[in-house]
């Protein structure tokens, strides 16, 4: 396939207009807090001292229960799907107010409680020493007790909800996964890091985000990429030099650190965010996780979701618009069809008519395509035409 790149000068006018709107709105909303519905649980992002305070209060209340009744129990918000609520106003998945109780004296819950207390003990140690640990390290701190990492992971999430705080506040972090590049300068403790000067790999998004601070930027938008391959293409083209932006990727599914970092930069810098994912239900799901959070971590949604994120592409309608060759389109399998139908049943998709239409079109055509399919028109098509044209015309959802 020959190169199809138009030699046009894209002014990314629509993106710039959105940037001005976000800037005005951001300055106005800076002091406003998100108002959560009354029937949902409020989670706080805490510093080290305050998290330690909550642990101390919890242990004090347990000791008191032991003295008074001899039958201590822990009460924490239930994380079952029945207790996950979609807050339409803020476009967030949140935790409802159903409470579950874990009894210390019950044979059925004794293992669970012991594991929970071990995790609490480890968190206390991390906070006192001002250290961070990965979920894997927590598992290895008591292999005999946890047996499998899935149990220690579950306890970590339970402890965070029990303390009504985010997982990051407990100093338990996921391994570094995402990367970021572009017009941004940050501080990581005593070091100043220039995200334009780290080569084509960019900066690995630190899971210890409490050490990170934004110090300078002249970006006008943020681009979130599903795939590392697209990141390499944009990094090689030094895309941010021509179009002032910050680019980041979680290299697939969005991890906590990447989502939290995205939320932080978009909020503090008041910048619009665009996502570029594969034209398939998995890509659209990844976009939805950035948009309104995941069900598993719904209690942290206000700290992880970016409700204003726009789906830039690759849209099903783009396949026709850009005449993506048939041999670059992939037929949908049964799982794809099932996932697309599931997405169409989600309230946040039903609310967004353009998104619903695009997913319905995918179901009708029964095709999907990867971002890389655009390179059928030349390696530079993505950076020199597809993205700039969309940012100029406002062709996003």
């Amino acid at each position: 396939m020959s190169s199809k790149i138009k030699q046009e000068k894209w002014d990314i006018g629509a993106a710039k207009k959105l940037f001005q709107e976000f800037l005005k709105k951001g300055i106005k909303d800076e002091k406003k807090q998100i108002k959560l519905p009354e029937h949902t649980v409020k989670i706080d992002e805490l510093d080290r001292e305050l998290t330690l305070d909550r642990i101390n209060n919890l242990t004090d209340s347990l000791i008191e229960m032991i003295y008074k009744t001899g039958r201590p129990a822990i009460r924490l918000p239930s994380r079952t799907s029945a207790n996950i609520i979609w807050d339409e106003k803020n476009d967030l998945l949140l935790l409802g107010q159903q409470i579950m109780e874990k009894q210390f004296h019950s044979l059925a819950s004794v293992v669970d409680i012991t594991r929970l207390m071990k995790v609490l003990e480890k968190i206390n140690e991390l906070l006192i020493k001002d250290l961070h640990a990965t979920k894997r390290e927590i598992f290895y701190s008591a292999v005999q007790l946890f047996k499998d990492q899935k149990y220690s992971d579950k306890c970590i999430e339970d402890v965070a909800t029990m303390l009504y705080t985010t997982r990051n506040s407990t100093h338990i972090v996921a391994s570094a996964k995402g990367s970021c590049i572009g017009r941004l300068r940050i501080r990581d403790k005593n070091d100043i890091i220039d995200l334009e000067g780290l080569g084509s790999g960019g900066w690995t998004i630190s899971p210890m985000l409490d050490n990170i601070e934004i110090i300078e930027s002249d970006a006008e938008f943020i681009l979130v990429l599903e795939k590392d391959a697209a990141m390499i293409r944009l990094a090689e083209a030094r895309f941010w030099r021509k179009y002032p932006c910050i680019i980041l990727t979680a290299k697939g599914a969005a991890d906590i650190a990447t989502r939290m970092f995205l939320k932080r930069i978009s909020k503090e810098l008041k910048l619009p965010v665009f996502s570029l994912v594969d034209s398939d239900p998995y890509g659209h799901y990844i976009h939805s996780v950035y948009l309104r959070g995941s069900k598993r971590l719904s209690y942290e949604s206000p700290f992880l979701a970016t409700p204003d994120i726009k789906l830039l592409g690759v849209l099903t309608r783009d396949l026709e618009k850009y005449k993506i060759p048939n041999d670059c389109r992939i037929p949908m399998n049964q799982t794809d069809i099932k996932r697309t139908k599931e997405l169409l049943n989600e309230g946040f998709v039903k609310k967004n008519k353009e998104w619903e239409t695009d997913l319905k079109l995918a179901l009708k055509l029964k095709v999907k395509a990867e971002i890389q399919a655009l390179s059928a028109f030349g390696f530079e098509f993505l950076t020199d035409q597809y993205i700039p044209e969309k940012l100029t015309t406002g062709d996003w959802i």
Partner: protein, 172 residues
């Protein structure tokens, strides 16, 4: 974030100086130096550059210097020591940055603590070296002029030799 408008409708955002109050004491100076040396030249328009320069001066005046002085003037030897280690490193790299705190370092030379005296002397030595470098540069300029004048026959051999001697003494 503190927002500065660009001519093309874009913006430059710099961290609010209030947030820097929580930073390690030497970091505001490093930040100022970093923005001056690396970012300022990338911003277009003299008005924008001037506004950012003014903001950096404000940070220097309101945050960086008072932070350092507070520690150096205090009674906590451990904190003073830590601050002096950082100032010593900065002084060796970029003496101009730490110039405003020279009077406070001069006072510290008289303290009883051996480590504090050693570090303060090291910082003052950096100031002395910088001063010598400055004088040497001035003398070198004069020397070059004298050389030209001597070669043109405008000054005597004696005058040239005197200038050369002054220059060499300073160099040693």
């Amino acid at each position: 974030m503190k927002i500065f408008d660009k001519k093309d409708g874009g913006i430059v955002q710099l961290i609010d100086k209030e947030k820097m109050k929580e930073w390690p004491i030497e970091l505001p100076l490093i930040f100022i130096e970093y923005i001056r040396n690396n970012q300022l030249k990338t911003y277009e328009g003299s008005k924008l550059k001037k506004e950012i320069e003014q903001y950096l001066d404000e940070i220097l005046k309101d945050i960086a210097i008072p932070g350092l002085i507070k520690v150096l003037d205090g009674d906590d030897f451990e904190e003073t020591n830590k601050a002096l280690v950082r100032i010593d490193e900065l002084a060796k790299k970029k003496i101009d940055l730490v110039k405003p705190i020279k009077p406070y370092v001069e006072k510290l030379v008289k303290k009883d603590n051996k480590e504090i005296r050693k570090l303060s002397n090291s910082i003052l030595e950096s100031f002395a070296k910088a001063e010598r470098r400055k004088k040497l540069a001035e003398k070198r300029k004069i020397m070059q002029e004298r050389e030209k004048e001597f070669l043109a026959g405008n000054i005597s051999g004696e005058e040239y030799a005197k200038a050369r001697k002054d220059y060499l003494i300073l160099k040693e």
